[in-house]
Amino acid sequence: MLLKNTYNEFIKILSKPRSYLGIGALTLLVGIIIFAMKADGRSIISFITSTFEQSLTFNGDVLNGNLIAFIILQMLIVHIPLLVALVTGDLISGEAAMGTIRMLATKPISRTNIVLSKFIAGAMYTLFLTIWLGFLALFVSRQIFGTGDLIVLNSDGLVILQDADILWRYGLGFCVAFLALLTVSTLSITLSAFAENSIGPIVSTMAIIILFTIIGSLDVTVFDNIKPYLFTTHMASWRSFFEDPVPFSSIIQSIVILVVHNVVLVAIAIYKFNKKDITS
């Protein structure tokens, strides 16, 4: 029954226009960034690298597909949660608003299975968005700009990664980025179990992300103890794969915290939905 209802959830997601809004927006944004970098990227890059050019050696063009992919990920990873929440925040509450949750809950399927199938479908949608982002950012950029060494400027300074040493980093980076986006998806579905309208969970998800991000960026001692446990702190962990050496222990810690968030949020949603009186 779980599989059958998960299939149902896929059909619903695929049939909703808003599902394509995220994919369309992502495609447009990546297209704009690629166009901008093609048109004016060289002057931007030379401005940034001019101070290093005398002392460092690059293989290939600095303005290459690997760099463009990194820039795209940097820029868009902040916005994708909204695109994810736009679809997943609607999965339970949208049905409550439409009245179909009432029809569904009178069928011989457990409420736990109803919620789990929505989580699975939400996860698959998030995975598709992540893969689509990866395809656009990495494959299309590499096709247009070619390949080469990747220069990454982080807090410790400039890191140059050789072309042959990059793809596995992107692969694992996308996996961690997916886990971070999955946490957003799980959060919005859980909030959706508490609401009777579509907008509330979407707005609440974004509000929580903004609030946690602000708390995470505030250099105030009182928040130091909670910062490591906020999921937003770990949303940019994918970047760690572009450090040399890769800080695997901190990445694993981030993965554990994100997984714990997902498990706890799913458990809350199942408990809430099972206890809920469906009066819509």
Binding site: M1, K4, N5, Y7, N8, I11, K12, S15, K16, P17, M98, G99, T100, R102, M103, L104, A105, T106, K107, P108, I109, S110, D277, I278, T279
Partner: protein, 304 residues
């Protein structure tokens, strides 16, 4: 297997905050019954039905469906029930056929596309299967709702106010559909309504609830036959007829509507005698039309 108890509700109570939606509702439905669940708006009908379908958890009382309680038997019970609560809601962005496919997949039975098409034809929507729900009228959605309740061939159909919001033609269509379910498929049907006339036309047993309590339960014929009718009489001279009837039935209540029409409140069994009396006294009778004072009856019962 007629006579087997399909639904047994005892002393059901449900409160939302400080509001007691259902205080004490008890009734039972036997296999093959078309059971009228009658009560004015706000009486607690929908809350009771939601409890019957495990949409809400009662605070007190017990519910047994097919001899089982929901504890540990929820999916088994629901696999044998088809229902519409208040109004059927569907996915507007999907076609009628896709909607039925969605609900069929979680109905606990294997329903083929052919069976879905047959069901659409049964409710008169055979040519609308590919159309999206966005363009469906309320009546069409109600009919699709009934198709949805039948997909997995359940024994028990629960319909909550299925004719609410429909135009007269829609009401007749839904009523005929319910009668076909009763006559052709021998379903047990629980039909909630606030209209006594609807229950009278379709149901064989009924319970009346008001302010969260069940007031009276029994056979529709027995409950309604003991009640008075309003008889409209069309004659040449209404005033003279009224005088004659006043002498014969001093306790009857008369109302003269016009020179040729009067109304009298009467027990059903006395209507033939009334007709004989008028004819024997050479009164030209153009019409005798007994109509039940439904609202009066309803009010009398719920105020008792």
């Amino acid at each position: 297997m007629d006579g087997e108890t399909i639904i047994k509700v005892e002393h059901l109570a449900k409160r939302f905050g400080t509001f007691e939606a259902v205080k004490d509702v008890s009734f039972s439905v036997s296999r093959g019954d078309v059971f009228g669940f009658l009560g004015p708006n706000g009486a607690g009908k929908s809350t009771t039905i939601r409890c019957l379908l495990s949409l809400i958890t009662p605070d007190a009382g017990s519910i047994e469906l097919f001899g089982k309680s929901f504890k540990n038997n929820r999916t088994a019970i629901l696999s044998n029930i088809g229902s519409i609560i208040e109004k059927p809601d569907f996915y507007k962005y999907l076609s009628a056929q896709k909607n039925l496919e969605i609900f069929a997949r979680v109905s606990g039975a294997d329903v083929s596309k052919k069976e879905i098409q047959e069901m659409l034809e049964f409710v008169g929507l055979g040519d609308r299967g590919k159309h999206k729900l966005g363009g469906f009228s309320h009546g069409m959605k109600q009919r699709l709702g009934i198709a949805q309740t039948l997909l997995h061939k359940p024994d028990l159909i629960i319909l909550d106010e299925p004719t609410t919001g429909l135009d007269p033609q829609g009401i007749v269509e839904i009523r005929n559909l319910i009668l076909r379910l009763k006559n052709e498929q021998n379903k047990t049907i629980l039909l909630s309504s606030h209209q006594l006339s609807e229950i009278e036309l379709i149901a064989n047993r009924m319970v009346i609830i008001n302010q969260g309590r069940s007031i009276v339960e029994g056979s529709v014929t027995e409950l309604l036959n003991t009640q008075e009718l309003l008889v409209r009489i069309e004659v040449d001279n209404a005033r003279a007829t009224a005088e004659l009837l006043q002498k014969a039935y001093p306790e009857a209540i008369f109302k003269i509507n016009s020179e040729s029409e009067l109304e009298v409140t009467f027990v059903k069994e006395l209507v033939p005698e009334l007709a004989r009396l008028l004819v024997n006294n050479n009164i030209n009778v153009h019409a005798i039309e007994p109509t039940r004072k439904l609202e009066d009856y309803f009010m009398k019962i719920i105020q008792a």
